[in-house]
């Protein structure tokens, strides 16, 4: 039923507040949001399917490009799964190097988030500050792996590059600089009244709701749920390292900021420990080209939360099925809850506070209903025609435009 007092606003796919294409349909009553519906899929590229057509080693690089911010997370998660099926024992040195890169990645991701969050509340100075400091860790990553993003350090059975004593020195130096800067940000977050006022009480997700909606990562930890794969189900070298799981009971955006800042400090300490404890030895073992049949679910604590990869092998050099559940997919459910009855102006920061990554999230799931016994397969062309029809009915016709553009190329 149409409610005359209600206004519907489409938000996206291209919008100044959004960094990636996704769209929200917001229903407003006055300034308050009554409901939001989220539409994803603009970034769906079909990576899972493409994985089935490529060999394991090619997949590793493709999987890495699911997301350019947590690329190491995805590639490690996938490599771990394949290694487990193939029964490979990853050398200890390789495990430490993986841990090291993982924590450096977390540092760059959390600094990036802090900047974006600052930008969303109109605090652009913070964006410029944190992104300047982030370059320090980007330099370190470039030095260790050879690339600033999409490091390509993993291989099945270990890592591809070793770390030299000089590089260790450099890393430690960078950690000192960053720790100093992070202390300043923590001071800023806890003492700057405007920041605390703008962020607290916004985007509330209670402990029960977080559990019910299956939140992960910093979003869950800021709602008082102590959950971290690094501690609960240690992989790489985390079992030998000592760190705290940071939680907060604020349940709002402010809490999420504090959790991420606290995690930054923990990451510095993990990096230092890893550098100190790293054992000597080889960095990889030879992996077979063909992987025996089997299936595995692998877990990994990405900067945004728990990342889950399912790999099923069938004895050939290509996987039978790869499934990726990225952390944002788990967190996006809670956004509607956080926005309920909140002001429209809070929307950008609430969405940004889960640190969404829609490149990670845009997967496709086909749901079969066993009762109906029929499979609904629709050809791509049919969907396209249906889309064109739908838009025509809304009064938007792309045909002449399309023709014009095609003639230009």
């Amino acid at each position: 039923m149409h409610d005359p007092g209600e206004v519907k606003i489409p938000f996206g796919p291209q919008h100044p507040a959004l960094k990636e294409p996704e769209s929200f349909l917001i229903s407003l009553r006055g300034e308050k949001i009554t409901s939001t519906s989220i539409k994803l899929g603009y970034n769906h590229r079909g990576i899972e399917k493409a994985c089935e057509e490529r060999t394991y080693i090619q997949d590793l690089y493709l999987i890495e490009r699911i997301c350019g911010i947590c690329s190491h997370s995805h590639s490690t998660c996938f490599a771990q799964a394949v290694e487990e099926i193939a029964g490979l024992e990853v050398p200890a040195r390789a495990r430490y190097i993986r841990t090291l890169i993982a924590e450096l990645e977390r540092i760059h991701s959390h600094l990036l988030w802090l900047g974006v969050a600052g930008h969303e509340i109109g605090f652009d100075t913070l964006l410029m500050y944190t992104w300047r400091d982030r370059e320090v860790v980007m330099d370190i990553l470039a030095m260790l792996t050879g690339n600033r993003v999409n490091y390509g350090i993993n291989t099945i059975g270990g890592v591809r590059r070793d770390i030299s004593p000089e590089q260790k020195e450099e890393v430690l130096k960078a950690m000192d600089i960053l720790e100093e800067r992070t202390k300043y940000y923590i001071e800023l977050a806890t003492q700057e009244v405007t920041l605390a006022k703008r962020l607290s009480g916004v985007g509330i997700l209670s402990n029960e709701d977080a559990k019910r909606l299956g939140a992960v990562g910093p979003v869950a930890r800021a709602s008082g749920i102590e959950r971290d794969v690094r501690r609960d189900d240690p992989y790489a070298a985390y079992a030998q390292l000592d760190f705290k799981v940071i939680t907060s009971n604020e349940c709002d955006v402010y809490g999420r900021t504090l959790v991420r800042l606290g995690e930054l400090m923990e990451s510095y300490s993990i990096v230092r420990q890893a550098i100190q404890k790293i054992p000597d030895g080889v960095i990889s073992v030879k992996a077979p080209r063909k992987v025996p049949a089997g299936e595995v679910v692998s877990r990994y604590e990405a900067p945004r939360g728990e990342d889950l990869h399912y790999v099923s092998a069938n004895g050939t050099d290509k996987p039978e099925r790869v499934k990726v559940r990225a952390p944002t997919l788990a967190n996006i459910q809670s956004v509607s809850k956080m926005l309920e009855n909140r002001y429209l102006a809070d929307m950008p920061i609430v969405v940004a506070a889960i640190d969404p990554c829609f490149s990670c999230t845009d997967r496709l799931i086909a749901v079969n209903d066993p009762e109906r016994k029929t499979k609904n397969t629709v050809a791509w062309e049919a969907i396209r025609l249906k889309g064109i029809e739908w838009y025509k009915r809304q009064g938007i016709d792309f045909t002449p435009l399309n023709k014009k553009l095609k003639s230009l190329i």
Binding site: G68, S71, W131, F398, N402
Partner: protein, 150 residues
């Protein structure tokens, strides 16, 4: 060339405003674009400002392969930009499709949908490469007064 055209050209070259649109990228190139606008690289010293709406922008920076979902939105954004307008493809996947070529939901590079004026390869294109690409594009416009759409 009339005086007005000269002034218009001069101002256009000194303040190219950009719009960034992710057409299905992995985010790697997107963060590098933002990184090139922040203090270390500071693209703003060339007068480049990131804008939120296509109607204000002169240059459309696209990253990533064109996915089928985004295709018509991309065309619409391009149509909303005012003449003269330029498209820059940032990153290997927006140049050719890169690792994603052959995926069922991917059309290919930006040039499969829009006319592209400059290609910046790299996975991801590093901020240095992005600055280089943008400056080269501006140079080529300078040599070509009237800055016609390609």
């Amino acid at each position: 060339m009339g005086v007005i055209t000269k002034i218009v050209n001069w101002s256009r070259l000194k303040s190219p405003w950009i719009l960034h649109f992710n057409t299905g990228a992995c985010n790697g190139c997107d963060i590098e674009i933002i990184a090139s606008l922040t203090p270390r690289y500071d693209l703003e010293r060339f007068g480049v400002v990131l804008k939120g709406t296509p109607r204000h922008a002169d240059i459309l920076l696209c990253s990533g392969p064109v996915t089928k979902q985004v295709e018509c939105r991309l065309i619409r954004i391009y149509e909303q930009m005012l003449e003269p307008k330029f498209v820059v493809a940032v990153g290997t996947c927006s140049c050719t499709g890169g690792v994603f070529s052959g995926c069922y939901n991917v059309d290919g590079g930006i040039n499969s949908v829009l006319p592209v004026s400059a290609y910046i390869p790299g996975c991801p294109a590093s901020p240095k490469a992005i600055i280089d690409g943008v400056v080269k594009l501006l140079k080529s416009l300078e040599e070509e007064p009237g800055a016609k759409k390609k």
